[in-house]
Symmetry: C2
Subunit: 422 residues, 2 copies
Amino acid sequence: MSRPNSQDRNLRERADKVIPGGMFGHQSTRLLPDDYPQFFSRAKGARLWDADGNELLDFMCAYGPNLMGYADDAIDNAYVTRMRQGDTMTGPTGLIVDLAEQMTALVTHADWAIFCKNGGDATQIALMIARAHTGRNTVILARGAYHGAAPWCATRPVGVTPGEKANQVFCDYNDIASLEAAAAQAGDDLAAIFAAPMKHDTFTDQALPDPAYARRARDLCDAAGALLVVDDVRAGLRIARDCSWSTVGVQPDLSSWGKCFANGHPISALLGSEVARRAAGRIFTTGSFWYQAAPMAAALETLRRVRETDYLEHIEGLGERLRRGLAERAAAAGLGLRQTGPVTMPLFLFEDDPDLRQGFFWSSEMLRRGVYVHPWHNMFLCAAMTTGDIDQALDAAEGSFKALRGQLGSLGPVEKLSFLTA
Amino acid sequence: MSRPNSQDRNLRERADKVIPGGMFGHQSTRLLPDDYPQFFSRAKGARLWDADGNELLDFMCAYGPNLMGYADDAIDNAYVTRMRQGDTMTGPTGLIVDLAEQMTALVTHADWAIFCKNGGDATQIALMIARAHTGRNTVILARGAYHGAAPWCATRPVGVTPGEKANQVFCDYNDIASLEAAAAQAGDDLAAIFAAPMKHDTFTDQALPDPAYARRARDLCDAAGALLVVDDVRAGLRIARDCSWSTVGVQPDLSSWGKCFANGHPISALLGSEVARRAAGRIFTTGSFWYQAAPMAAALETLRRVRETDYLEHIEGLGERLRRGLAERAAAAGLGLRQTGPVTMPLFLFEDDPDLRQGFFWSSEMLRRGVYVHPWHNMFLCAAMTTGDIDQALDAAEGSFKALRGQLGSLGPVEKLSFLTA
């Protein structure tokens, strides 16, 4: 019954020799169940094939970039056509202007754009612009929020100096009193409030933004002359066809974008409003591949689909079907499943499961049934998914809940997650 | 006689509205002669076409990425074939292992690899690993050297805090006494010496590394237990089929790579030796697109050409032909032209030209004759260039030298470079 994994094992052995720890970063499977594949071979639509050819219905969507479906023909054709004419050149093409016009038209607060590669480039640039704009240094962040892996925002700051993480004050997401206390602590040095569009931290329930919290962040920035930054790298275009905080009626000064606006082709962006334009022109930021034309062509095709199709309503409908179906099946199995966050970016945690032993077991059972879910990171739906896919996931979930129910008393601790309960 | 530029003008007007300052970063033409195009439409081999369709023999090679020729069919085919099978996915493919094996086989000091997107990602990771490895903070840098646009290495640090640029000691490139003084100043806090493979700063003559300076850097690191980093992002594969300091017999612990090893497709890398492997596994670094398969496929094809063809000897031969021919023609026109750096990465500066008025005039004359040269940044040769291309450039140079000679007494100051003489 076990899935073939000899190719994956072979690649892991080779990787151990030439990649530190066998793999780096968020796509390392170090903190996933042991049977999760590290290597993949193919992807199309909503499906992945691992290195051993096992087909998987994928609810991670590459950790976000897959919005319209893997290997989407129209988007990839736009990429290839542009690439063949010249891609990374001695200067940009007119596509950079087209794309800046399109994104500022789509995103209400935005009057200008800077394009980059990593989501973390966009958040780093936002921080630099806020500091250049205000002549101040202090930034307010929510505890546990992820804004990238650069030293300033590193959540595991090994190899980072105290100076690189100085000038930061922390609050708790959606806690207005803690936000006000942070602003008071920043005093007249407040350069920016950085906000995730929702609480999408790992290992913990997600939370949608409290509109009053978002408004208070806006007001505190206005009172201090500081800039409000919404980091939409992860959630952008899965909550709104606009900055995600438009859903709670709050417009930031800066918003960072990445992952999915070219459907997985490498491009990110910082969008800004008029007030920040001058400071944005004063900082120096650049990268060898930031002017690449082909990802911009792919982004233009992706954004056309964002504007002209019901992709968002489609994934919202699928997400609701999934949430409802999972709740029913978990309840029928007598299991407490917490489903949090927007339905298009769900996170599943089991009740009374501090070291995730239930989550790990259930996720492995899902994998055996051909469905890739993540036990502690929010997931993502894509527009290539169908109601049939959701029903396949629900069938797999039903079997996996039953299997979990049967093993509930005999599950051992998850050693690799012992830090959660230490 | 003036080149058509209505498309470029039109795009600039639109860009002014939606991009801060009209363009950002190193591909902004803000500090280039006024007639230089900001926007391009096409590239093939050694040639570019600007937005108005003017053909240009391009000596910038996209500021480095173009190594084998723009829109190289075999490399781009490798990219596309892999992209159609799945590119940015929920995990990497086996290509990441193949590529790590190939790069560590090619680069003498390297035992492992981490792949990223920007050259600046690789230098940032190098710094984090050096600090994690040593438990110390101080890094020695050469004054004026470029290692990226991140806060720690920003050469125009607007929006950067003092803490982000702390723990840095500066020396002068190739000046052993200043290097020793910097090491003495770092004392027992020395984490790393960062070295460019050569002095390739802007606005100033380049300099090849003094072997004694490189050896002293190695010795000082060994004595202190610090790591030696060679930042080969810009010069890699144009000086050696190995880390560039292999040419002076010095092996670093870490080397950063980018720009050209996938011939312009977006990928960079940090390579390291065994001593740094453990620290490399302890830091957290990642990016949404770092596991992309298609740029790795393109890199594998580029590296095959690096190993199996005489691309390097070819561009060295062309570079010598260009250097010799320019020297003859400048001398014949009675002009003092300084050509510095490796012949594959030349920089041209005129004698007695502090605000670059001669360089600007000459570069504009070259542009009018269909050759794109840069007045103050090192240039790059690519393997798609031919002796015929070099002879075209030399013909253009002869006419441009004569034109400059005729105007030498009447050139006005270059206002946009007034900071050079302030």
